[in-house]
């Protein structure tokens, strides 16, 4: 298996035949019938049993939506138990046996990719896994959706190859494409790239320009890495504050010789050994 697998979607070539969707369902053993949509669900067509879908935009534009397999995935960084993992090869995969169902990954994904099995008591997170296991075992040489595409609108290779291919297509027909590769830099880069003749900002909750190129996990890590210092700092501050106040009150008590703090003494005297 190639390292750093990557999919390049060419929006100009997609005819919206949904062969990729059917192939995805077949290879992953997903039922043909999707669960009915829930109230307030976004209308992108993805569901727990449909890991890739075709967004049909006005003007005959078809855009395939699927997991972007970010280089630094937000979903992996927020999972408190590490049920979602970025494999050494690249795809982001899910381990049901570890998951506790907090759905933080669904909140953290800027593209709204992870979907949930709402209608069962033993639900899983479901999303595209880039056919990881079958690729790894060598059963198939490229993801099922890529194999199924009749128009080469979606092609597969290593990330460098795909970036080169994208640039080649952009240069070959500069009039056709917008000169931008979606997924090259957004949120630290993704392993599913898009080239297109229309703006693809709608693939994310917010325009990728808004998200920036800084990986999302860095936003939380910058706060989380301070945690040990905060803990030690707060404990020290509180102990010091207590010590100073206690000493002052004791001195005052000796001066006034009428301390009414007997109530507090047991806790106070024990502490010097306790907190240091």
């Amino acid at each position: 298996m190639i390292t750093d697998p990557c999919i390049l979607n060419d929006v100009t070539r997609c005819i919206g035949c949904e062969e990729c969707v059917a192939a995805c369902k077949r290879i992953n053993g997903l039922p043909e019938e999707d669960p009915p949509p829930r109230v307030g669900q976004s209308k992108d067509g993805l569901s727990s049993t449909r890991w890739t879908s075709i967004l049909r935009r006005t003007g005959g534009v078809n855009v395939r939506k699927q997991c972007r397999h970010c280089l630094e995935p937000a979903c992996v960084s927020v999972c408190p138990v590490g049920a979602l993992k970025k494999t050494p090869e690249g795809p982001v995969v899910y381990d049901k046996s570890v998951c506790m169902g907090c759905r933080y990954c669904m909140m953290g994904c800027p593209y709204g990719i992870p979907h949930y099995e709402w209608n069962t008591v033993n639900p899983s997170i479901r999303k595209c896994i880039l056919c990881h296991e079958k690729l790894k075992s060598g059963e198939i040489d490229r993801p099922a959706c890529v194999t199924a595409c009749p128009k080469e609108a979606t092609v597969f290779g290593s990330r460098d190859e795909m970036l080169a291919e994208a640039r080649r297509r952009l240069e070959a027909e500069p009039g056709t494409y917008l000169q931008h590769i979606w997924g090259e830099h957004e949120v630290g880069g993704t392993s599913v790239l898009y080239i297109s003749h229309v703006d693809l900002g709608f693939l994310a909750w917010q325009d990728p320009k808004f998200l920036g190129v800084e990986p999302l996990p860095e936003r939380t890590w910058s706060a989380l890495k301070k945690v040990p210092f905060e803990f030690v700092g707060m404990a020290t501050f509180m102990t010091a504050a207590w010590w100073i106040i206690d000493r002052r009150m004791r001195l005052q008590g000796e001066e006034g010789a009428g301390g009414d703090r007997d109530h507090d003494e047991p806790g106070g005297s024990a502490d010097e050994g306790g907190e240091q």
Binding site: G16, C17, E18, P36, P37, R38, V39, G40, L46, S47, S48, R57, T58, G59, G60, V61, C79, P80, V81, V98, C99, M100, G101, C102, R103, Y104, M107, G108, P110, G112, P114, W118, N119, T120, V121, P123, L178, D199, Q206, F210, L211, R219, T220, L224, V227, F231, V232, M234, A235, M238, A241, W242, D260, R261, H263, P266, G268, A270, D271, G274
Partner: protein
């Protein structure tokens, strides 16, 4: 026990009963049945109120601990035990709330062994578990004080200060980490709430909420047990609260100004109105009230200010974890009533535990002593008997417990009767279309443009039965939408009431239900035995007509159309091998209703979205 306590307990038991009913459905049918959550809104009321709000509400424990033990303000020692009890029960309630909200609650212990230190939630989980343990040790002396385990009691008292300092440090971490939780979603959270300083902001607001919660709770307990609240303690706490609220306001607006977002606060959107409402009831109004000396001295005034503050900061947590994200997702999530019942049910249940502990252990000595005196007085009350049956009516405690049990059971039954057992899904009604050249089907309207006229020309008039497998009595060519009335959901098409009416009343049961057999669907005569002429014999679907529910139009149409298209695609004569593929019917462009509206508003051009770099 006062009348107020009894009525309050009755209400709390009733809500707990309702919640118990929903609990049964939640754990046998899953989240989809009891919540309005969706893939677009995966966190709802249970996270916003029970977890985010619960943790913040319990902040009183560490704030009062700091004031009374670390800064050694004697006056607030009364408040320590109730505050720690609230914190302990608050965190326990958070854990219970999590069990409801987690999809796989039996894995709730997984953060213990599966580590991901990069996740804020992992940090929160560890802190909450640790702090729950610390709080238990902090509160244990109250249980032991009037028992014979005096040695252990004294040891724990000596450990009180280290425990409290440890508790403060752990609280600092997870109160702020709840803010860190939202740092990952700049794309969901509205800029008025999102800031890189969310952790600090959450910590400050937790201190505010902790203070107003202690004030609120002391006022309520005093009112319930009909005794005088500690006026100067409340006045002192109010002064602290005023300071904290002022700092919070200054911090929040400085942060907005610093990031150049102050202008956003003066637009006219839902979020801006929400923002000002939240700021007003959480901080501004309580701050103003607390600053007036006369209000600080009045029980009602302090209570109102504190109650507003509690609601305001709870709203802040709910906004941050849900309401202020609608802006990005466009989801119209509103909690199901079952979600409210569970949230309030958990609060009610833990409020009952709180009252129980107050009445049986020396949390506030006046209450437990009064309770003991009341129980002793009961020994001198003559037993009461029913005049007719001479059955003992029980003492007052027994009688009130009987009422509570009755209320709980009634609520449980009512809840079970009302709670839906099927997943909550959106009804997507199918637009009625009849005859004509082109039928627009699907939801949103027009997902598929069905060339009805072309099909008639191609297949011939006599072939109607190929698709129309069933007519309503007295009708021909009954449209699909008549039975397949929803795009996804099954529709019941059998109308029992109508059958009874048409077949001349109750005497006609035997026309469908054979004598001597139970009158159920399974034993009733087949519909086809009467409705033979309404079914198109040519159609295979008609023979499958046994269920009294019509499947959703999506399934039905896919079943009929694709079957036929596949057959015709295999026919080499037509040279249309792709006839069965999705795009044959699902042609582009498929105008979504929303986009159509937008386009119409803009002047109706289908130009592609403007270019971006």
């Amino acid at each position: 026990m006062t009348r107020r306590v009894q009525i309050t307990k009755g209400i709390l038991w009733f809500i707990s009963g309702l919640a118990a009913a929903v609990t049964i459905v939640r754990f046998t049918r899953g989240l989809g049945t009891t919540t309005a959550l969706s893939d677009t809104t995966p966190w709802g009321l249970w996270v916003g109120f029970d977890v985010m709000g619960g943790v913040a509400l319990a902040a009183g424990g560490f704030v009062i601990g700091a004031i009374a033990h670390v800064f050694q303000r004697e006056r607030y020692h009364h408040a320590v035990r109730p505050a720690i009890l609230t914190a302990l029960l608050g965190y326990a309630a958070v854990a219970v709330g999590l069990i409801y909200d987690l999809g796989l609650p039996w894995n709730i212990w997984h953060p213990l062994i599966f580590w991901n230190p990069h996740s804020p939630l992992f940090e929160v989980a560890w802190c909450v578990m640790t702090y729950l343990g610390i709080l238990f040790l902090e509160f244990l002396p109250v249980f032991l004080e009037r028992t014979r385990f005096q040695a252990l009691y004294r040891t724990l008292l000596r450990l009180q200060l280290p425990l409290i300092i440890l508790g403060i440090s752990v609280s600092t971490l997870h109160q702020s980490s709840l803010g860190t939780l939202l740092l990952i979603m700049p794309f969901r959270l509205h800029p008025l709430w999102y800031t890189p300083h969310l952790p600090e902001l959450f910590f400050v607001s937790a201190i505010c909420l902790g203070l107003v919660m202690v004030i609120f709770e002391s006022s309520v307990t005093a009112w319930l047990y009909e005794r005088e609240p500690h006026t100067d303690m409340l006045a002192g706490l109010s002064r602290f609260a005023a300071g904290a609220l002022a700092f919070y306001l200054a911090f929040r607006f400085f942060d907005l100004w610093h990031h150049g977002k102050l202008g956003l606060a003066f637009e006219n959107t839902f979020e801006v109105r929400l923002f000002w409402f939240e700021i007003a009831i959480s901080a501004v109004i309580p701050l103003v009230l607390f600053l007036i000396p006369r209000v600080r001295r009045s029980h009602t005034g302090v209570f109102i200010a504190a109650a507003l503050g509690v609601m305001g900061f709870l709203l802040n947590r709910i906004d941050a974890s849900g309401l202020a994200q609608v802006w990005a997702t466009g989801a119209d999530y509103f909690p199901e009533w079952t979600e409210f019942v569970v949230s309030f049910g958990i609060v009610s249940f833990f409020a009952l535990i709180y009252l129980f502990i107050q009445e049986h252990f020396p949390v506030e000595k006046e209450i437990v002593d009064e309770e003991e005196r009341w129980l002793q007085r009961q020994l001198f009350v003559l037993p009461r008997f029913d005049r007719g049956s001479q059955v003992w009516l029980g003492d007052a405690t027994f009688a009130s417990r009987r009422v509570y049990s009755a209320l709980f059971v009634v609520a449980l039954v009512v809840g079970l009767a009302l709670t839906p057992w099927q997943p909550l899904v959106k009804a997507s009604p199918v637009q009625r279309a009849r005859g004509g050249e082109m039928l627009r089907v699907g939801y949103p309207l027009g997902t598929v443009m069905f060339p009805h006229g072309e099909h008639i020309t191609r297949l011939g008039k006599e072939a109607c039965g190929t698709c129309h497998h069933l007519h309503k009595p007295g009708d021909v060519g009954t449209p699909c939408s008549e039975c397949h009335a929803d795009l996804y959901l099954d529709t019941t098409i059998f109308d029992h009431v109508r059958h009874v009416a048409v077949l001349e009343g109750n005497a006609s049961c035997a026309k469908c239900h054979p004598e001597g057999q139970p009158k159920v669907r399974a034993t009733a005569r087949k519909c086809s035995s009467c409705h033979e002429k309404d079914m198109m014999a040519a159609n295979t679907v008609a023979t499958r007509f046994e269920s009294l529910a019509a499947p959703g139009l999506r399934r039905a149409a896919h079943g009929i159309c694709i079957e036929c298209h596949r057959r015709e695609a295999a026919n080499p004569e037509w040279k249309k091998p792709d006839l069965f593929r999705c795009a044959t019917c699902h042609k582009t462009p498929v105008p979504h209703v929303q986009e159509l509206r937008l386009l119409r508003a803009e002047g109706g051009e289908t130009a592609p979205v403007a270019a971006g770099s």
